[in-house]
Every structure is written in structure tokens, then in C-alpha cells.
Amino acid sequence: MHVVIIGNGVAGMEAALQIRAEAPDAGVTLVSEESDHFFSRTALMWVHSGQMSHRDIEPLERDAYVRHGFTRVRGRVVSLDAASKRLTLGDGETLDYDKLLIACGSRPRPGPWRGSDLRGVGHFVTLQDLEWYERELHGGPSHAGRPPRPDQHVPSSRPDSPYLPREAAAEARGSLSKRPAVIGGGLIGIEAVEVAHGKGLHPHFFIRDEWFWPMAIDATEAAWITERMRAHGVHVHLQHEVEHLEGDAQGNLTAVVTNHGRFEVDCAVVAIGVVPNTQWLADSGVALDAGGGVVVDAQQRTNVPDVFAAGDCASVRWSTGAQRPEQLWYTGRDQGRVAARAMLGQTGHAATYRRPTWYNSAKLMDIEYTTVGFVNMNQPGEREWFFEERGAVRSTTRIVHTDTGVIGFNLLGRRWDHSVLMEFIDAGRSLAYVLDHLHEAAFDTELVPPLVLPREAR
């Protein structure tokens, strides 16, 4: 059997490793346009600052393809002919498969504004985006170098690819960026802000909503994060709707114009979300959802026989009933494993994708963040219990509960073991029980004084 996997991100690579573990003789080909090696996309910001090298963000040793007998194809897939089970690459080569896994991830959502194609405007999602942003702020990569063969794929690529090198305004101008901007108040946005701050700059941060990341964070929590960003010298602009971007005669970005005014900037990271990287599937017969995600069932099967999808590009059924992609590292990993087993013809528990209670964690500048269950979802009959700690540790604890028990946690400033909090939710524990047992979920490092909930707060 010959399995072809499009994408060597976490979903594609996990699937390949799983197939190898269970079917030592299966042929496995991994096609990737972006890079030779599997790397952690989640770690781009640390390569930018110089905290890590390219090699450091690769979870496997570089001989992994050889050791596991995977065939590497570096190039862009441009079309799928499902009837003859054949892929075509940008340079005209073809690739036949018995089973196909589409794990081609997401691409940044482009800016919809006039001027979005100016030099100096870019994103922070792909390796090529990273290289561009490094050139704008630092003039190039750190002493840790570049990934091998960064431009190898370009001949077989297409103009619409998110993996193309981008010109830097810093080079055209002859001077590094001094006044960068980030547009879009989400997780990638705040990381792009942090790397600019890490360079010692004071970036502009344009956020359309009333506060940072309203999907996950409430007004009180966001006020603390905004205060922290401003203390670090970040110009946070709330409720600023970008109208257009301005450039000079050479086509270099010079300003961001919002509904509140004109801001002189020399570099802008557009971080207004990601979309499934599936434009090339438009005529393939593979069913896509309204946002472009490849619709899959619980075995990661698409509507086309022998074609599967996993990771950021796959549109899955949520516990809420919604059908859309889950753009997360660990869900991509789990989906990849399920897809591998399903491609090998397995059924049952191990080949079925079930997302547990929602959870996630992040670090917002230097504030630790954990969320579990339903928060900011306006569930019927929900109430909130909130406690703000201001002692040796500053933290906030928000617990959402209904008559049937606790349903969600939003926790800032401390570390928590989400698996214990999930147990509370899944067991339908009452608020009183959870407050008595909250310490069981504490995961702070040693010597950090524990969270004490004063009696009157209960």
C-alpha cells in the first residue's frame, strides 16, 4: 500500500509515524512545500527572538525520514484527480496513491484593505513569514541560521502559495523597522507583538474589538493584559477598525489608517486569523465547508473514497454540534493518529476522533493562561464566580457554573492542570465542591505560594 500525505506538519507527521508503527511495510510519501523537516509552528516566535534555533524547534532528529523509510517530496500539490487517484505537482510531476491524507494546514487570512500588498506588510504563520519578519526587524536570521534549502520549492510553487519568500521593506528602504504594527487581537497577534517588544521596539497593536481576544477573555481579565502590554511600551489601540494602508512611491508601507486616525508605521503583521489552505481542492470533488475546511467524519474520512483529512485543514464535528476546523496543535496530532488507523482499515475506539471537553492554554506576554470547558459561550442559566488575587502572585480565577454544576474555567496568572479541571466538569461537580478541591488542580512550580481563597470570597 502506498500512502501519500500532503503536509509534514504535526497532523501529517503523526499520521506517518503511526502508520509506520502499525504497518512497517507500507509505502509512505510526505509532500511538503514549506520545509524539509517537521517543525513546531507554535515556536516561530522564539526563533525570531533568537531564543531557539531552527534545529531546536524540530521535534525529531533530522534523519527521521531515513530512519522511518519515508519518501520526501518537496513541492506544491496543485490538483487532485480522485477518479484516477493521482496528484499533480506544480512542476508537472504526478504522484499516485492508494490512500491520501490531506494535512495541508492553514494559511493566513489576507488583509482585506487597500494597501495590503505593500512591501512591509506580511503575516506570522509560515517559515517564509518568519524569515520575512526577521529581515524587517533584525535584518536577517540569528546566529542559529536558517532551515536547510529554504527556497528549494519555489520553482514548483504558485503565486497564491503562502510559502513564498516575501520582500522586506527594510531592505528596500535600507533601514530596519523602527515602528512596527500588528493588526488583529488574537493569539498570533500577541506573539507578533511580543517579538517586536523583545527586539526593544514599541509596536502598535490594532484591535478591532472592545478588548483583547473577546472570544476567550472577559473585560476584567483583558484590562489586566492590556495594562501589562502598555507597561511594556506596547501602543494598544482598542476598537480601531483598519481602513487602509498607505505606502510611498517605492511601494513601501508608511502608515496604517484606522477609524481613529493615521499612524506612521514601517512594517505591519496582519494577524486576523487563518483559513484552511485548500484553494487547490476547489475542483477536486472533495466536499468543503463554507470556510473552506475539508469536511470529515469521526474517522477523518472525506466524501471521496480513500481520501482523508486531518489537522488545521479538516472540518470536524464539535461537541457543541458545530462543523468547523480545530486549529490546535494537540487536536491536529490526535486527528493525524486517527486518520492513520482509519487509512489502515481499522475501526473502533482507536480509529475514532472524539474531542474531549475543550481546553487550551497560552501565555499572554508574561501572563499564564488556562481555559477549560464553556466560558464566554452564554450557556443557558450560567453564573460566574470570580476571584482576583493580588499578593505575591497576581491571578484571576473565573468559574462558570449552572444548576447542574461547573461548566468552565478561565484562569490567569497561575498554572493549572487542566485534566483535573476537566474531571470536575465531566463529573458535574458543584461550585462548592470545586472551590474546596481547587488546590488539587494547582500546577504552580515549587516555592510559589498556593492560591488561598478567603472565606468571604466563597
Binding site: 509515524l17 503511526q18 509506520r20 513546531s40 507554535t42 515556536a43 522564539w46 527572538s49 533568537g50 531564543q51 531557539m52 534555533s53 531546536d56 524547534i57 524540530e58 521535534p59 525529531l60 532528529e61 527521521a64 533584525h138 540569528s142 546566529h143 542559529a144 511580543e194 517579538v195 517588544h197 523583545g198 496543535w329 494537540y330 490526535d334 493518529r337 486517527v338 482507536a350 474531549p356 481546553y359 492554554s361 497560552a362 501565555k363 508574561d366 501572563i367 499564564e368 488556562t370 505575591a392 502572585v393 496568572g413 498554572r415 493549572w416 492542570d417 487542566h418 485534566s419 483535573v420 476537566m422 474531571e423 500546577f443 504552580d444 512550580t445 515549587e446 516555592l447 510559589v448 505560594p449
Partner: protein
């Protein structure tokens, strides 16, 4: 200020002296030359036209060049401590650990040994134990020391140090007390990411460190045998302590000077700060074996790791922490010195150092079986 977690980004690879650039080679060359002169000044005095370190020590009214070294060591450690605290000092674990370590070294590693002879007491290092201080179990040493110090050396090296390692992990020594570890974590902190994470380096470490432990035990046994039977057996005496090619002298030359000093510290900017601790230290080997059986562990929070690699990158012992974290596997590695940096660096709070005999995972989530790469 928060009490855990890396506060802001590090610019490590954007600074040449930390990324094996020309400055790093220059620093390494300077350190190596310094150690060569320090250890072999007498033999090199012809070539050097004198004894520069002894001269410097005497002009500073220090008894000999070893006190000068102790003094420079304290300065390097204190300056490095300030550097460390500026980078990682927001964390209470880091801050406490470094303060204790620097304090112990300044008091027990430098001041007391300097002061004790003034009161007719022998020069004694309370912060070192056998087998790191290999001569502390030689009968020749024990019989010369006052009883209370002999008891301290024997009980400390053979009972107390391993017992503490059972309950708290070897970190109580390697990261809170030890002078080599202390220098590595302060003066050597700029280089902690350079320790190799390759499989080959791990294979080398396992053979080399346990070999040195065996050699240390054999050397101690031979020197001890010489004390009791050396007079009746000239061959034993020659092999154990007599002359420059005896095991005692060879061990001091190879392990004490070359591996611990010239390579261990001199090559910080190229090999990372813990190459002595990781590959050669017999004390680390011994306490590491105890640690494997004891209570210390790194607990991994399930299914939260984003495989970023901060933990592995900043592990000064070359442990691929990420490989455990992404498999949801709590673990105890013999080599882990418990510096706490992996937990500190982790942007998702996945890791926690613990002394605990409770089960490793509170709740095994209905997670899918996992294969590793």
C-alpha cells in the same frame, strides 16, 4: 512580577558570544589558558618566566594561588548570579536556588577554608563530599583530620548525601550546593543551550560518567589499601600513591584537573556549562543512581505540550525533555540536576519538578495510544 515562567523573550542566538561566534572561541581560549597556568604553573614557570598567579595572589595578600582562584571564583559566581537573576530571577525557585548556592560557596567554599587555618583548624570544605572530593575518604586524610571532621566527611559522603538525594533528588547537591554546579548556573548560564541533545552525546555520557565513578571507587580502594598494606608491599605502594604514575596522581591529573577544570569550565562557551557534571563527575553519577530510585521526578501535565522545544533547548544536561512531554510521560532521569529551567521556560506550564511518592498521573485521560518518533 510573576513567580514562575520565563519573563520575556531571550535573544540567545542573536548574541555571538553565546552562539559559538568568534567571541565565544576567544573566551574559551582565555579560560583554558587560565586553567593550564593555574594547575601547572610550577612546571611552566620556565616558559612563563615566573609564576604569574602566585605573584598576583601574594600581592593581594592571599596565601597562595588557590585562594586567588577561590576569590576569582566567588567574583565570577556572584557576577554570573546577577546575570542569571536578571534573566530568570522572577521565578522564586530560580532565585532561591541561586541565592543559596552562591551563599554556600562564598561561605563554605572560600571564606571558612581561608579562616579556619587562622584558628589552627585544618583547611576543610564542608560543601564537598566523596567522591567529588576524592581524598576525603583516603585513610591518610581521615587520620589527619580532627575526629568531628572525619565523621562529617564519612557520614556526609556515604550516608547523608545519598539519603538527601533519595528524598529530594540529586538537585539538593548539584544545583543548590555544589561549586561546579554553582559556577555552571551563574557564570555558565549564557551557554546552557549549547549542551548537545544528540543521541550520540547521550550514549557517550552513560559510558563515561559511570566509568569515572568506577575509577573513583577503585582509586579510593587502592589508596586505602596502600595505607594499611603499602609498607609490606612496595608494588602496591608504587601503583597506589608512589610517584607521578600512581593511580592517585593520575586520577588527580586527568579527572581533577583536565576534566573538571580545563575542559569542564574552560570550554563552557563551546560545549555548554555542564560537560563536567554530565559526563565525568563521580558524585553526579552516584547521586543520579540514587535519584532513579528516589522520589524526585518531573511531572508532565497530559496533552498540553505544543512541542515547542524550549525545555530541551535550555536543558543544560542535554535531556530531551520535549520527547517525554509530548508523550505525556512523567519521568526521572539520572542525569537531571533539577535546575528547574525546563519548567521555567515552558510557555504552557506543562512541567513541574516534584518530590513525591504519589502516583505519577492523577488522571489518565482517555488519551489515544501514542507512538514516538
Amino acid at each position: 512580577m510573576d513567580l514562575q515562567g520565563q519573563n520575556g523573550l531571550l535573544s540567545t542566538y542573536r548574541e555571538g558570544f553565546r552562539a559559538r561566534g568568534a567571541a565565544a572561541w576567544l573566551i574559551a581560549a582565555t579560560l583554558v589558558s587560565f586553567y593550564v597556568v593555574l594547575y601547572w604553573e610550577d612546571r611552566l614557570s620556565g616558559a612563563l618566566g615566573g609564576r604569574p598567579l602566585t605573584w598576583l595572589a601574594e600581592s593581594l595578600h592571599l596565601r597562595n594561588r588557590w585562594y586567588l582562584y577561590g576569590f576569582l571564583y566567588c567574583v565570577a559566581m556572584s557576577a554570573g548570579g546577577v546575570y542569571y537573576l536578571r534573566r530568570h530571577g522572577n521565578s522564586r525557585y530560580n532565585r532561591t536556588r541561586i541565592a543559596v548556592n552562591v551563599g554556600v560557596q562564598v561561605v563554605f567554599g572560600f571564606t571558612l577554608p581561608f579562616v579556619m587555618p587562622l584558628f589552627e583548624a585544618p583547611e576543610f570544605y564542608f560543601s564537598y563530599f566523596w567522591p567529588l572530593k576524592y581524598d576525603y575518604l583516603y585513610p591518610q586524610t581521615l587520620t589527619q583530620l580532627p575526629t568531628y571532621l572525619s565523621v562529617y566527611a564519612v557520614v556526609g559522603g556515604l550516608v547523608a548525601a545519598p539519603a538527601m538525594a533519595y528524598f529530594f533528588g540529586k538537585r539538593w547537591y548539584c544545583s543548590w550546593v555544589c561549586g561546579c554546579g554553582g559556577l555552571a548556573n551563574t557564570f555558565g548560564d549564557p551557554y546552557r543551550h549549547l549542551t548537545s541533545k544528540s543521541t550520540a552525546s547521550w550514549r557517550f555520557e552513560r559510558v563515561s560518567i559511570h566509568s569515572v565513578l568506577v575509577i573513583a571507587i577503585v582509586t579510593t580502594a587502592l589508596v586505602g589499601a596502600d595505607f594499611f598494606w603499602g609498607e609490606s608491599s612496595p608494588r602496591l605502594h608504587a601503583a597506589a600513591t608512589g610517584g607521578p604514575l600512581s593511580v592517585k596522581e593520575l586520577y588527580g591529573f586527568v579527572v581533577g584537573s583536565i576534566l573538571a577544570g580545563v575542559i569542564g569550565t574552560g570550554l563552557y562557551p563551546l560545549l555548554g556549562p555542564r560537560s563536567w557534571c554530565r559526563n565525568f563527575c563521580p558524585m553526579a553519577a552516584l547521586l543520579g543512581l540514587v535519584q532513579k530510585l528516589g522520589r524526585y521526578r518531573i511531572t508532565v501535565k497530559p496533552d498540553m505540550c505544543i512541542s515547542c522545544g524550549n525545555c530541551s533547548t535550555y536543558c543544560e544536561m542535554g535531556i530531551d525533555v520535549r520527547s517525554y512531554a509530548q508523550r505525556n510521560e512523567s519521568f526521572t532521569r539520572a542525569s537531571c540536576v533539577g535546575c528547574g529551567m525546563c519548567a521555567h521556560m515552558c510557555p504552557r506550564g506543562v512541567l513541574k519538578l516534584e518530590n513525591s511518592s504519589a502516583p505519577r498521573q492523577r488522571a489518565a485521560r482517555a488519551s489515544l495510544p501514542i507512538v514516538s518518533g
